[in-house]
Symmetry: C2
Subunit: 754 residues, 2 copies
Amino acid sequence: MADLRDIGISAAFNLLTALVFLIAFAVLRLQPINDRVYFPKWYLKGIRATPSRSKGVSKIVNLNLRTYLRFLNWMPEALRMPEPELIEHAGLDSVAYIRIYLLGLKIFVPIAVLAFSVLIPVNWTGRMLEGAHDLTFSNIDKLSISNIPRGSNRFWAHIGVAYIATFWTCYMLYKEYKIIMTMRLEFIASSDRRPDQFTVLLRNVPPDPDESVSEHVEHFFYVNHPDHYLLHQVVYNANKLAKLVDKKQSLKNWLIYYQNQYERNPSKKPTIKTGFCGLWGTREDAIDYYAKEIEKLSEQEAAERERVLSDPEAILPAAFVSFKSRWGAAVCAQTQQSRNPTLWLTEWASEPSDVYWDNLAIPYVEHNIRKLLMALGLFFLIFFYTVPITFVQSLANLNGIEKVFPFLKHLIEQDTVKSFIQGYLPGIILKIFLLLIPMVIMIMSKIEGYTSFSSLERVSAKKYHLFILINVFLVSIIAGTALGQLKTFLDQSPSEIPKTFGVSMPMKATFFITYIMVDGWAGVAAEVLRLVPLVIFHLKNTFLVKTEKDREQAMDPGFLDFAVYEPRIQLYFLLGLVYCAVTPILLPFIILFFAFAYLVFRHQIINVYDRKYESSAAFWPDVHRRIIIGLVISQLLLLGLLSTKGIKMSTPLLIVLPVLTIWFYRVCQGRFESAFTRFPLQEAMMKDTLERATDPMLNLRSYLHDAYLHPIFKGGEFYIVPPRDEEEGAPLVPTKRSQRSSKVTSLASSEASV
Amino acid sequence: MADLRDIGISAAFNLLTALVFLIAFAVLRLQPINDRVYFPKWYLKGIRATPSRSKGVSKIVNLNLRTYLRFLNWMPEALRMPEPELIEHAGLDSVAYIRIYLLGLKIFVPIAVLAFSVLIPVNWTGRMLEGAHDLTFSNIDKLSISNIPRGSNRFWAHIGVAYIATFWTCYMLYKEYKIIMTMRLEFIASSDRRPDQFTVLLRNVPPDPDESVSEHVEHFFYVNHPDHYLLHQVVYNANKLAKLVDKKQSLKNWLIYYQNQYERNPSKKPTIKTGFCGLWGTREDAIDYYAKEIEKLSEQEAAERERVLSDPEAILPAAFVSFKSRWGAAVCAQTQQSRNPTLWLTEWASEPSDVYWDNLAIPYVEHNIRKLLMALGLFFLIFFYTVPITFVQSLANLNGIEKVFPFLKHLIEQDTVKSFIQGYLPGIILKIFLLLIPMVIMIMSKIEGYTSFSSLERVSAKKYHLFILINVFLVSIIAGTALGQLKTFLDQSPSEIPKTFGVSMPMKATFFITYIMVDGWAGVAAEVLRLVPLVIFHLKNTFLVKTEKDREQAMDPGFLDFAVYEPRIQLYFLLGLVYCAVTPILLPFIILFFAFAYLVFRHQIINVYDRKYESSAAFWPDVHRRIIIGLVISQLLLLGLLSTKGIKMSTPLLIVLPVLTIWFYRVCQGRFESAFTRFPLQEAMMKDTLERATDPMLNLRSYLHDAYLHPIFKGGEFYIVPPRDEEEGAPLVPTKRSQRSSKVTSLASSEASV
């Protein structure tokens, strides 16, 4: 068991790591050459451009020494932007996301104050472990509930803290849910006209022998929504075309690479071997070869584009149906259209950039089968993934390393190294393995068949949370594999399980403290440094970039990866809630994490991350639910722990808490959740009326007619992600892009605007 | 353990009981004096009237002996009416209800054939129990799975049957769900114009300082449904008034009773004591006393009626909002109206006779608190109710009775009596206790605050099903209290629980067979006899009836008590599914029950039961879900049983079944359930269009303006249940009743029709 000293060394080491990261960040961000890595958001907004006035070295390196003195200035700067401006700047999703950290602070700071003023003295003077010189106890344990003798009345203090923590957490959750709901409704109400406000995604259009999909949709809506239907856009199956475009882009990158090489060194024409991986085959001129390949691909692409637009088979039984008013769209999205509830499915259209086009064609029954299969897949992922983790962890203790590498014995028995291995290594191993999981989970969610990026992220976050809960939290509490856990769950009685976990919980506090430091502190500091995008940007910059436009493309602003980050935050909530009544010494580490992460992510959403889409904080019900799950788990574990401590009445008193918490969850669900899934008619009518008054001449048809075209048909030659600001102006006059694509879309829209 | 002979005696006894009931029924129903007890439905329809041509004795007793010869004729007659006619005659609720019995036959007859041709030979030749002369085994057990030795390959037959039974049950369930859904949609589509098609129940109208509820509602809907809103009717808090009317009716009954007494015996004026319960106080003339009291009450009633109609405090924050088209109503019922999802709640209005007026005023949060409290109440009802049941059951075995009543020893040790006690008594004791539960549960549901009789019945059925599942099924399998069960569940591991139940399950087959005979066979036969309504009708007829109208009121047709009957049927489904692979000998008893019950209830809904309301089979998703629950329980128990029998691979093979079943349930839910909760716009539009074409001059306002008036304001002086046929004609011309009440409603409708 780690001692206070080990924790101290580990903390120092992690703080040092974090500090090194921060200093590196502070230095690197001041270099003009890195400007596009650390401030890409401003470039995307068009506010910032590559500095061109200064010349020579100063274009690359910042020589103004005074700016280095203020290297921590970004912290207050990150906090300066007020919330309404931040919402406008980065969107509500980002703001709601950083409010999760803020919520962590709001919940845990008062609880920590309470726990430190009540529980630490109570525990410290418990004197249970005074005489024990057992190695399994340390100073940390003396500050924890383990230090209280069996049957002591001091446990009432812990029960009291659990009660107060529960009520405080619920109160803060309720308040926050209300705030986010209000923010969401105001954001939707105040946002400008957007295509998705008028549009509904229609799926599972039944086949009709006499009519095309487009005609069928049109007739159906003319009959059933006669006063409100405006137009619709069919969905093309352009997955193959998108692949061709992607391939072409990659070939183009190589072409540019060789052209640049040739320019720099005109004496030697670059050549390549055309066989497998460039390892053999005839040697050809690289520039000629790629130019030829690109031309070939362009022809294929044009043919495929033609085929998609003309072949009725390429039209999916889905459509985006637009209405004359928000009211009409709100009505259509919330109601059932036909007898058979698996046909003519309507739901709110996501905004155009949020649509995940590949999945629009999946029929109802197939979607169900995919869900079943992916549920089984998740089961296996969770319960059989842990074999490698536990194997590596079992190696990574002192004895294990000494056994495998006996020659290291001398080194690792030094105190500092020992502390390092004990405190740092298990956490970092876990971390590395965990990095791979989110990708697997996202692929699984895509296979399941959700139709928007935002729902894909929400569903992935749900799966990942389950994964973390079982494979990080539970597995760490009782050493063993998740499969072993499952066996425990099946073989032990339900009243035994909280006991088993509850009893070993206090002993794992030190492990989680180091985990928080590695994953939380150092991890967040690494986030701000953006090492990977930095390297990639400079590689691209060196080899591919010729024009300013290329540089624009080389820039990778990244985005808030909700599916990965949010479940990880939930682990901190869970740890805080579980340990607040047991080992309160853990709380400051969590609070420090929340504060630091809030600062860093606020900085990142201001300066770095791009918005992939805007779901108006649609994820909040999930966040709320997962914190409640953490709260209930913490209550059950405390119940299990205290039931072994020989105090009367603790179980009935503590069983009240989860019952009340679950009831609280249901009340919140009824009170708030529908604001995140439905669109009240009152709001829709209000905005419609306002618009009719302010803009009576609006031509909605021309505004909407190509809003939901597959992005492949939008850009000229490249597969360009539509810029984010599209919804901010009201492009009533066709923009340059839509003019360019109007030829392509004429076929699609001519059907719709009959 | 009961032997085949015990079962035989018990079966004979129960069949005899059933036969006695049936003969009694056959004789009694032919007597003209009982005509109103056994054919009330036809009187209510106005097709049958009291026979008046025949005089004297033949008015009371049927002397035509030939009719007695055909005393079982009602059975084919009950089957003769074709289903569409039956739907028109008795409503879809009743037809869907008797289809549950039919579904039972469809599921279990093929399964029984399979089980008898495969499992009975396999079990009988298992020879496990051949040598065993242990008392705990009987011939029944030799036909069951207990007769197969450990590790035998014969168990594969049982696993196979379990698989086939699962797939067959799911297939039948799917087909039936589809049929019922189609019937429901056709019923709704073909039904004539009804007020509830145009109307939405609005609850939780927020208070407004400047406007009355009525004005507030009107303004809100004029703004947010401008093209569709027609009118609304406010809801009065008339609970006190209803109580006064009830009390007056009871006094009137007494007045008539004494008047009749006086008429028959004019020499003696009836007198009563006016004090508590008529036990003391001054003696007065009874007729004068009641006439006076009624007059007093009439004044109070008039004053209260005045107060309700004029006091703004008496108007509840709820309203029935009617629309110009079914489309408008369907839209409003399915959408969210305001930002705050707990205000302006809209849902389909139940038809006027289905509205449970007392609960319309409960606000959102209070409704939640009531739900929490009633959930706790249900928990205590389920787990602490069993104390009396088990106490009585523990007395009712041979040893118990001999101990308590030693003098009976001689009697009960006779073979027949012994068999009777062992086979019959435990079942009947259970039955008596169970009769009290549904009333308690219905009261609990009313407290919870549901607003229609149909939802009250559905919710009560859910609670009652849980009760039966735990307190009849599980408790009977392992003798002990439900509280003991709960302890078992908490203390045993989840993998042990199916084992514990699975192992003792085959031994309880005989108990359940007797239960089926008592509750099923004799119980259903008692249902057709209608002993209680028969007695009450004759009592009323003797003491209260003077005019034909009184006789109309004395008639109690009763109704299909879904909340009580349906959960009981579920027990038979559960038993059939659980025992089909274990003790198939139980299946014929269940099949006989389903067939007999189908016959009897078909007869009852044709001739007897009145419709309280019509929910268009809205309960079917519940029925479907509960059969699925039974199926999953049966699969888990078989899994538990076989896991103790030492055959490899049985657990993984059998765990597939519940997973698939639950998945099947979710698919069905997605495919069918919304047809029971929502109203597709396509259907609404179709009916609207049709109506506009066939009846362009329809004055919907006058049709709807008092449809949703509290029934207390509808009848003249009495609290008359509105007649059922109201919806069948289209009373465009104000009926007599609405003319009478128009004066009363003028206040309400004047606000609405501004």
